[in-house]
């Protein structure tokens, strides 16, 4: 994983444990608003990212660079040898894809016919193929784009393909770099906070955008045994549903989110009381946090598990968000630690829910991770200790 809180999982773990946010003033994104807003940027230039992955090909855009860096780390950490005859797939997700570069050159492409090679790397699939080719994945590749729930859906697809015997293992997650396009897009929706976001706070004003690449490697039990590997966690439940309420907003009743959480729990075979921690979607927008709080109350009633949103660490990394949060959830399981919901002071009056606000030691056996996106797309994952 590479994000605003570090260039790898270890760095992220240190920052998470020290309640140190990666959101700050804008250093890399070109925008006329750079002095007005804060962003969760990865703290490396494109050149430095190229050094990190050891490839200076000019065809690589920031999205691909972040994806390659993260996926390489995940695969290395898994100890898997891709040449061992098992079938491995790469399921990535993105919303920005090559737009981070297209937006810099489109004007000149149109007026002067220059930089036309940028076109080849504009689409979402291209970044996935760059990652696959850098890793050497050949058996299966695909890309999902369902806005901010994308990476959760990638995890879910990977699990299903393994269950159906189509793959032995899959590298799943997502990647999005910051772009003028998405930044201005969210700005027109008037849901950006100019200061640090305050998820689940009564006075929350909006989200901070971030960028990240985040992948996990999932493997069938048989394949894991065969290579005598050791798992970090298990995915025991997942679900996707749709709010069908509004093009961008979530329903005030949290219908889609409630369904996703309930179905994921049902599949996991756990009762709500067995969830030790919820990593919320918690973007910090008035709408999301209201809807998600409602869904949480719908499912858990008065017995709300400990919860936090980690968006105030990383910013909202869109398609990568659920990948980032899957990694953070695994860190919670491994270390029996809850990473806090930063910047929180006042509960939302309608619900009175109070997140975990300090780094907290607790026995964590099962984690629920939520991710919701534009178009009413709602996904939940249940991860548990091995």
């Amino acid at each position: 994983m590479i994000s605003a809180i570090g260039n790898n999982v270890q760095e992220a773990y240190v920052n998470l444990s020290n309640a140190k946010s990666g959101i700050g003033k804008v250093n890399y994104l070109t925008t006329r608003y750079k002095d007005e807003y804060v962003l969760g940027e990865v703290k490396l230039s494109n050149e430095q990212l190229m050094d990190l992955i050891g490839d200076h090909s000019p065809a690589l855009n920031r999205t691909s660079l972040l994806g390659i860096a993260a996926a390489k780390e995940a695969l290395k950490h898994s100890g898997i040898d891709l040449k061992d005859g098992m079938r491995t797939g790469l399921i990535s997700s993105t919303t920005v894809a090559g737009m981070c570069k297209t937006e810099l050159f489109y004007g000149e492409m149109v007026s002067d016919g220059k930089h036309l090679e940028v076109l080849d790397a504009h689409d979402c699939g291209e970044s996935t193929e760059e990652i696959a080719d850098h890793l050497g994945v050949k058996d299966f590749v695909t890309t999902i784009s369902t806005a901010c729930s994308s990476a959760a859906n990638a995890v879910m697809l990977g699990c299903r393909m393994i269950k159906h015997g189509m793959l032995d293992r899959a590298i799943v997650g997502g990647v999005d770099s910051l772009s003028k396009f998405t930044f201005n897009g969210f700005n027109t929706l008037m849901i950006l906070d100019k200061e640090w976001c305050k998820p689940f706070d009564e006075n929350r004003k909006g989200l901070n955008l971030g960028e990240a690449g985040a992948f996990i490697v999932i493997e069938s039990e048989a394949a894991l045994k065969k290579r005598k590997g050791k798992a970090l966690a298990k995915v025991i439940g997942y679900a996707n549903s749709n709010d069908a309420y509004h093009q961008t907003a979530s329903s005030p009743d949290g219908i889609g989110a409630t369904t996703a959480i309930k179905q994921a729990l049902e599949m996991s075979g756990l009762s709500p009381a067995q969830i030790d921690y919820i990593n919320m979607h918690g973007t910090g927008t008035p709408n999301n946090d209201q809807s998600e709080s409602k869904a949480t109350v719908n499912v858990f009633g008065n017995a709300i598990p400990k919860f936090s949103s980690t968006k105030a660490y990383t910013g909202h990394t869109l398609a990568a968000a659920a990948g980032v949060e899957a990694v953070i959830s695994v860190l919670s399981l491994q270390n029996n630690k809850i990473f806090p919901n930063l910047n929180f002071t006042t509960p939302i009056s309608e619900f009175g829910l109070v997140p975990v606000t300090k780094v907290t030691d607790a026995t964590i056996n099962n984690v629920l991770s939520n991710s919701f996106g534009f178009g009413g797309n709602c996904s939940s994952l249940v991860l548990s200790k091995v």
């Binding site: 925008t31 006329r32 608003y33 993105t94 919303t95 737009m99 937006e103 489109y106 004007g107 149109v110 016919g113 036309l116 090679e117 076109l119 689409d123 979402c124 699939g125 996935t128 193929e129 050949k138 058996d139 299966f140 590749v141 695909t142 890309t143 999902i144 784009s145 369902t146 806005a147 859906n153 697809l157 299903r160 393909m161 159906h164 015997g165 189509m166 003028k180 396009f181 201005n184 897009g185 700005n187 027109t188 929706l189 996707n240 549903s241 749709n242 709010d243 069908a244 309420y245 509004h246 093009q247 961008t248 219908i255 889609g256 369904t259 996106g373 534009f374 178009g375 009413g376 797309n377």
Partner: protein, 352 residues
Amino acid sequence: MGKKAYIIGSGCISPQNSTDPNYFFETVNGPDTDHFNAVEPSYKEHINPNMLRRMGRAIKMGASAARMAVTEAGVENVDAIISGTGLGCFEDSEKFLLAIINNDEQFLTPTSFIQSTHNTVGSQVALIMQCKQYNYTYVHRGFSFDSCVMDALMSIEEGKKNILIGGIEEHTPIYIELYRKAKKLNADNSHKYYEGKTKGMQMGEGSAFFVVSDEKKNAVSAIEGIGVAYKPESTEEFTEKLNSFLKSKNTDLGKTDLVLFGISGDKDHDKYLLETLPLASKNSATGYFKHLCGDHHTAGSFAMWLANKIIEKQRIPDAVKINAVPKEKINSVLIINGYIGINYSFTLLTKC
């Protein structure tokens, strides 16, 4: 995976008159020199005008094709909506992008940004149908629609009943001009694609949606399975992937009645398909389709619509035919598709 996905409804918007239910290639629209434009229906018949006012063409095409498929299937609702698009809602993306560039990030409005999101078609269809179920959008180049088919087959195996799947692609005048400047388009219309004489693609657009079901109902054909090959490095590797797919479906190239090739007219990109064509032509009828829908990421959805029609009519239109090995019956159609020489897929349909 053993279960089939029965096609119980379809809708197709393409450069041909495919929205006319009686149309079967009696007339054929050729390219506009180096690209194809979709023949768009009157959208008001399919979409509420208050929703229509915000929609770009990709969304209109997708939502209408989806509506046609659902109407033909005669189902109230579906258990999943799975869409595929390589470029997404490009018209809106371009509009928002040019507004950013031309107004220096000022006076921007949210509508084109919202519509530019890749999963807009799937979520608009969900909104229109009030479908609160599983909703995925695949955005992987030539695999965008193939991933939908694969997901639908898995979903049926998992117990879902009716699933809406579809592919959507649109181009814009600027995008075509950029492709032209980059010398990626083919304006030479003096050869058939399968002659392997030309370079470049003839870009197309359109949308085809299907309701697939776990039950036969009134279906004329069923999807038996799909296989993919990612960047095969040699003909041997390509052939090995194709054969292992066919073997998994207990068939082989010689046993399929019709093989439809996604030949694009770019002789380099078409290499593996052109090499497979004579092998297929030995015992099977062969045909092609990208000269009808144009080349785009989800041209495979048009091919599926075509294959289903051919099975229904039990006749191969002359416009499609390459080699007409006479077949009494068309019980099986294999679609061998390719996208710019990197993404290949094999889809097998059989008559019910």
